[in-house]
């Protein structure tokens, strides 16, 4: 009897740890993904959808404008809804995102906002999550650097 009692304490301890682990594992308000996955998904812009691809989806998509303050921002695309970036993770919006079975496509007038929102949602585990590609590739360098062959580095600046 005495022996079983001391084993009981051990099991109690193990159960407490297990409960804590389970509670943490199912907590929706925590990141549990590998950031490497987000980096992989952005390779060759495979996380963005062009206009042509969007048309091919035949309206089976959830198009979201991230304009802040509850308003659409400078760019507005037909058939889209507004979820302001600052309210992105509110319960009601999470429900909309969770219930969508189609592709979720993010866009806004500010490429930085869209990119940040994409990473956050990707790391929360949303699959089929894309960025609506702007007309021009935002990461193209539109200038050409002309080396100045006469330039010499002053000694003290190295």
């Amino acid at each position: 009897m005495e022996q079983l009692k001391s084993l009981g304490y051990i099991f109690l301890f193990l159960v407490i740890i297990m409960v804590l682990v389970i509670v943490r594992s199912i907590n929706p308000n925590l990141f549990k993904q590998d950031p490497g996955k987000a980096i992989e998904a952005t390779q060759n812009n495979s996380n963005s959808i062009t206009w042509a691809q969007l048309k091919a989806l035949n309206d089976h998509y959830l198009l979201i404008n991230l304009g802040s303050g509850g308003k659409f921002d400078s760019v507005k695309v037909k058939n889209s809804m507004n979820i302001s970036i600052e309210n992105l993770l509110d319960k009601i919006n999470r429900t909309i995102l969770n219930e969508s079975k189609d592709e979720i496509i993010l866009y806004s007038g500010d490429e930085s906002t869209t990119a940040k929102a994409w990473v956050i949602l990707n790391q929360l585990g949303y699959k089929k999550l894309f960025i609506l590609a702007p007309e021009e590739n935002p990461e193209a360098f539109i200038y050409i650097f002309q080396p100045d062959t006469t330039a010499r580095l002053e000694n003290d600046s190295l």
Binding site: E86, W118, Q123, P138, L153
Partner: protein, 203 residues
């Protein structure tokens, strides 16, 4: 029942729990989603190209510029003093010593803002020091710092300071990027030695 058996039961139990823990938890974002979102909507995570130019002219050592473009693009031209961490390779653990330095501000830039924003979100989520984005990226840098000229009749002292700042940054940018490749390499190597290492062990 002796101490060994009780203790073995405890250890095996803990081991089983550990064995079922997901593989990647240690690597995932440290910040809570709400905290990360709150940070990301703030305007104070951006530096304008003029501010960055001032950092360079003042040789401010409290920040480091991180170029997230590909190595080829970095080699053809980059902002003086930046280090190159191509975004494709961003999760490589070898970069952590550069990115995660307390008291040092990381300023990310690409050609536009998209890749830098990805990098910002990931490094902020992982709770690496202070992170910023250079507004507009290298395209904006070129447009403002390299190409803008003062137009008008009378220059105010304020505008004068602004243009002088741009002019100086432009000069350094052109000089360093015009260097032959081998000299450039030396310059970047010297920059890389700054990274700190963790302290520990018996040494």
């Amino acid at each position: 029942m002796n101490a060994r058996i009780k203790f073995s039961v405890l250890l095996i139990g803990l081991g089983v729990i550990l064995a079922f823990l997901p593989f990647s938890t240690a690597k995932s974002f440290q910040l809570k989603p709400d905290e990360l979102l709150l940070k990301s909507v703030s305007d104070s995570i951006y530096f304008s190209v003029d501010q960055v130019a001032r950092f360079i002219n003042n040789e401010d050592t409290t920040f480091q510029l991180i170029d997230v473009r590909s190595t080829e693009q970095f080699k053809s031209c980059n902002i003086p003093g930046s280090i190159n961490i191509p975004f494709n390779d961003f999760s490589n653990p070898k970069w952590e010593v550069y990115l995660n330095q307390k008291g040092l501000k990381n300023i990310y830039y690409g050609n536009g803002e998209q890749t830098a924003s990805y990098a910002w979100t990931i490094s902020t989520g992982l709770n690496y020091g202070d992170n910023f984005i250079m507004k507009g990226g290298l395209n904006e840098w070129y447009n403002t710092i390299m190409l803008s000229q003062f137009e008008g009749e009378n220059i105010t002292p304020r505008e004068n300071a602004l243009f002088e700042n741009r002019f100086n940054a432009r000069k350094v940018f052109t000089q360093i990027n015009s260097l032959p490749d081998n000299l450039k390499k030396n310059y970047f190597k010297a920059k890389h030695l700054l990274a700190s290492k963790l302290d520990g062990g018996c040494e």
